[in-house]
């Protein structure tokens, strides 16, 4: 019998550490070669770690949410034959875990972790997930061992307890009972309420709710949170909002969509905006830039890599349409569609999720007249698209219905002056209002 240690792999792009987002195994589980053991997440992507061997999991080296350095031991597997684990590895043998034991935090130096030490420093309980694949072993606030009620059986409780439960909107079938014969006592109900139980039954009337739920910020959400904190704390934003008459643009778009070839994608407003951006940024290279504020260096980019803020089931992500300057309007549209799809179903490659030089964010479909977009650090500008509304516009003699869209754009005020920001937006407006200008060379 030997031991095989799996270390955090180098997931590329010079990443030095990765966050463990999911365990697929627990100590005691048999594993087969190529079976997925865990998922780790870098800034860019989630990577699954397969098992290189057959064996039995002995030890897990991190908890979900922990950040693990590349090359640090991640888990140990007992294998047939000789293992490769030797005494000089960074990892010391953990406690003699028989079979089911709680996940153990990374070992510092102690040779043996006595099981009595099991209660770890207080951490908020992760939200319970009833995933068949990876049942959680640690349950810090386990309910007192007590008889649960069989389905279909009325919960056993005095009328006073039942009344209180009704008032609190609690389904007594959810409340663990400690009383004789499985009777739910007032204390049981108190404890259940104290644990922040969610009211289970919909009852008419207004009710106070006291429940809270703690959700550990991990994975994608943690990346988003860090990115937003960075951008919001370091970049003094200036946000400039202008309304754009897109009546002509919409007419053009409708005409182009009506006449498009069957293999061509349907055009939204975004590819037009991208083309207009390319044109405007050619005139104002200071806005198609990244700002390394530690080094104090602004890098102006000749390429226009447009990040497109995209909502995915896991949260906000920004796939990048690379070299928008070299793409036709149809090509831009096709690439947009492909990337959005890839981002949503999680198949976007790391390169496709990084390297943008400017970002477009659009909540237009949801309505909203103004947004205050947060810049995608280290870029210096972001353009927000608001909803197109038909509004009455005075043309000098009468009100006429025009399609009006607001652009809400933010700039890094350290390196983009308000004047330049306004010039940029006004130029964009001019192009979008007279869309022929977008396509005229020179």
């Amino acid at each position: 019998m030997g031991e095989f240690v799996i270390k955090m792999p180098d997931v590329g792009e010079g990443v030095a550490e990765a966050e463990l987002v999911e365990w697929h195994v627990k100590p005691g589980d048999p594993v087969r070669e190529d079976m997925v053991l865990a998922a780790v997440m870098t800034d860019k992507a989630t990577v699954e770690i397969p098992s290189p061997v057959d064996g039995i999991v002995l030890w897990l080296g991190a908890e979900v949410g922990d950040t693990v350095a590349v090359k640090a031991p991640l888990l140990r597997i007992e294998i047939e034959g000789e293992g490769h684990a030797t005494a000089d590895t960074a990892m010391k043998p953990p406690a003699k875990i028989e079979i089911p034991a709680p996940a153990v935090p990374p070992v510092e130096s102690a040779d043996v972790i006595p099981l009595e030490r099991a209660p770890r420093p207080e951490k908020p309980a992760p939200p319970r997930q009833e995933e068949a694949g990876a049942p959680r072993r640690d349950a810090p606030a386990a309910p007192p061992a007590a008889a649960r009620h069989e389905p279909g059986e009325k919960p056993l409780a005095s009328p006073a307890v039942r009344l209180r439960a009704q008032e609190a909107g609690i389904d007594l079938r959810q409340v663990p009972a400690t009383g004789p014969a499985g009777r739910i006592t007032h204390d049981d109900l108190d404890q259940f309420l104290a644990r922040g139980a969610q009211p289970a039954i919909a009852v008419p009337g207004l009710a106070r709710k006291t429940a809270t739920e703690e959700i550990k910020v991990t994975g994608m959400r943690r990346r988003i949170a860090e990115k937003m904190r960075l951008a919001a704390s370091r970049i003094p934003h200036i946000t400039y909002v202008e309304e754009v008459d897109v009546t002509d643009l919409e007419d053009l778009r409708a005409t182009m969509n009506a006449g498009k070839k069957s293999d061509q994608p349907k055009l939204t407003i975004l590819p037009f905006l991208m083309r207009a951006l390319v044109k405007t940024l050619g005139e104002q290279p200071g806005i198609n830039a990244t700002f390394d504020d530690n080094a104090g260096i602004i890098t102006r980019h000749s390429a226009v890599h447009v990040g497109i803020a995209t909502q995915t089931p896991a949260g906000l992500t920004v796939p990048v349409v690379r070299h928008a300057e070299a793409r036709s309007i149809w090509d831009s549209a096709a690439e947009l569609t492909r990337l959005a799809e890839a981002a949503r179903n999680g198949t976007a490659a790391r390169e496709e999720l990084s390297g943008s030089t400017i970002t477009i964010t659009s909540l237009g479909a949801l309505g909203g007249i103004v947004t205050t977009p947060i810049i995608n650090h280290p870029e210096v500008a972001i353009v927000g698209v608001n909803k197109i509304m038909t509004r009455p516009v005075w043309d000098g003699t009468q009100f006429i219905p025009r399609k009006i869209m607001n652009l809400s754009s933010s700039f890094d005020h350290r390196v983009v002056d308000g004047w330049d920001a306004a010039v940029f937006v006004q130029r964009l407006k001019a192009l979008l209002e007279t869309p022929a200008l977008i396509f005229i060379e020179g």
Partner: protein, 463 residues
């Protein structure tokens, strides 16, 4: 007439309706109640209360008559008693009148507006009442239907003439010489027993093989024996076919046709919900087996329309209707309530009385429980002996694994008063040990309950 607009309109001032209205009034809900006859409903006017008065009078009369007969052990001698039934009925009417006035007083105290007259739905929120002074339109945010039930008529024996329902039976001013009771349920037997005690020659015709078919044979046995003592002739498995001249034609269990000459024929074959005559068809409420269908909050299929009491189905008991009424009033007042009662006790005021709460042994087994049963006979109870009422027993049914009490039954003199202990035990989720560990006063019949629990635990003291 000026329209009345209110938050809550209750139709029917029976036990369900008046409790609902009083509770709603207490909670500050602007409430109107409509009643076509007298406040108190079937229960107070032509049901529970008057029948209990008559039964009491019959008991007293029979007791004295018994003493006047052959020498009794106690040593009391009396002259043969006489019964003036018309006076008995006046006395009964006095009690009913007091209670009528009491209900009206309670409604007024709760600031409930009372409208007299038959109500008819115009739509789900509007009701027209034909009052003595004209049509009164009432509009309400919420309506509670509490129209109750009425006796079922047999097609072969329409009410009228000698054929009477329980209502008429409670107002007879002379004791019929011969009385045939069609239907051996609790209403028929309570009244049949009372008339037998007052001197009628009573025959009970029951279609099923057992009188009081909803109870198990053990509970019914003491009642059947007592009926025999009182000279009541019981025909089970027999069907009333109709009237032929002054005689009732009955097809017996063996298929023979028999004729029973009867001064009165009391038909007590059940009660049906009163769902006609008040515009149910306008509302198109969902029904379930002829009753208005309700959910666990007594809501009907129409928003803002509730139904409570007999009109909503079995068990058709006043205390169920009262509990429903209270619950609905609280829901209307914005409180969160749902029907979660564990026990609706039922009492049968036969001689001796029967009381049941929760599951019978057979019902418990049918639910899949392994059960433990303890039964204690009153013949071993001192109080029962000293009141010359040793008939009957207390029985407890519990889960064999946890000793949780699932049901309680008793038959015997005065056991109706055990219903509160029975229901409390069930609602509180008592185990056998809880009842066995509770001191029951000596000497009372209630000791039988404690002993039954002890017996189920295997260590009864007094048997």
């Amino acid at each position: 007439m000026k329209e009345i607009v209110c938050k809550l309109l209750v139709i029917g001032a029976g036990p369900g309706g008046y409790v609902c209205a009083i509770r709603a009034g207490q909670l500050g809900v602007d409430t109107v109640i409509v009643e076509s006859t007298k406040a108190g409903g079937t229960c107070l006017n032509i049901g529970c209360i008057p029948s209990k008065a008559l039964i009491h009078a019959a008991d007293e009369f029979e007791k004295v008559r018994h003493m006047a007969g052959a020498s009794n052990g106690i040593g009391i001698t009396v002259e043969a008693p006489k019964l003036d039934l018309s006076q008995t009925v006046r006395w009964k009417d006095g009690i009913v009148g007091r209670l009528n006035a009491g209900v009206l007083g309670l409604l007024r105290k709760a600031k409930v507006k009372i409208v007299h007259g038959p109500a008819r739905f115009r739509d789900g929120k509007t009701v027209e009442v034909e009052t003595e002074t004209g049509t009164q339109v009432i509009r309400a945010e919420t309506v509670v239907i509490a129209t109750g039930s009425e006796p079922v008529e047999l097609p072969a024996l329409p009410f009228g003439g000698a054929v009477i329902s329980s209502t008429e039976a409670l107002s007879l001013t002379t004791v019929p010489k011969t009385l045939v009771v069609v239907g051996g349920g609790y209403i028929g037997l309570e009244l049949g027993t009372a008339f037998a005690k007052m001197g009628s020659e009573v025959t009970v015709v029951e279609a099923t093989p057992q009188i009081l078919p909803q109870y198990d044979a053990e509970l019914v046995k003491p009642v059947a024996r007592r009926l025999g003592e009182l000279g009541v002739h019981v025909l089970t498995g027999a069907r009333a076919k109709g009237l032929s001249k002054e005689a009732l034609v009955v097809e017996t269990a063996s298929g023979e046709e028999k004729r029973f000459a009867a001064d009165r024929i009391l038909v007590t074959v059940g009660r049906k919900p009163r769902i006609q005559g008040w515009g149910l068809e306008e509302l198109d409420l969902d029904q379930s087996g002829g009753f208005v269908r309700i959910d666990e909050r007594c809501r009907t299929s129409m928003r803002g329309v509730y139904a409570i009491g007999d009109v909503t189905g079995e068990p058709m008991l006043a205390h169920r209707a009262m509990a429903q009424g209270e619950m609905v009033a609280e829901i209307v007042a914005g409180r969160k309530r749902v029907w979660d009662k564990r026990s609706i006790p039922a009492v049968c005021f036969t001689d001796p009385e029967i009381v049941t709460a929760g599951l019978s042994p057979d019902e418990a087994r049918a639910h899949g429980y392994e059960v433990r049963i303890g039964q204690f006979p009153f013949s071993a109870n001192g109080r029962a002996m000293t009141t010359e009422a040793e008939e009957g027993f207390v029985r407890v049914v519990a889960r064999a694994d946890t000793n949780l009490v699932l049901g309680l039954q008793a038959v015997g003199a005065g056991v109706s008063e055990l219903s509160s202990a029975f229901s409390l035990a069930l609602e509180m989720g008592a185990r056998l040990e809880d009842i066995a560990g509770t001191i029951h006063a000596h000497p009372t019949r209630s000791e039988g309950l404690q002993e039954a629990a002890l017996k189920a635990l295997g260590h009864a003291i007094h048997i």
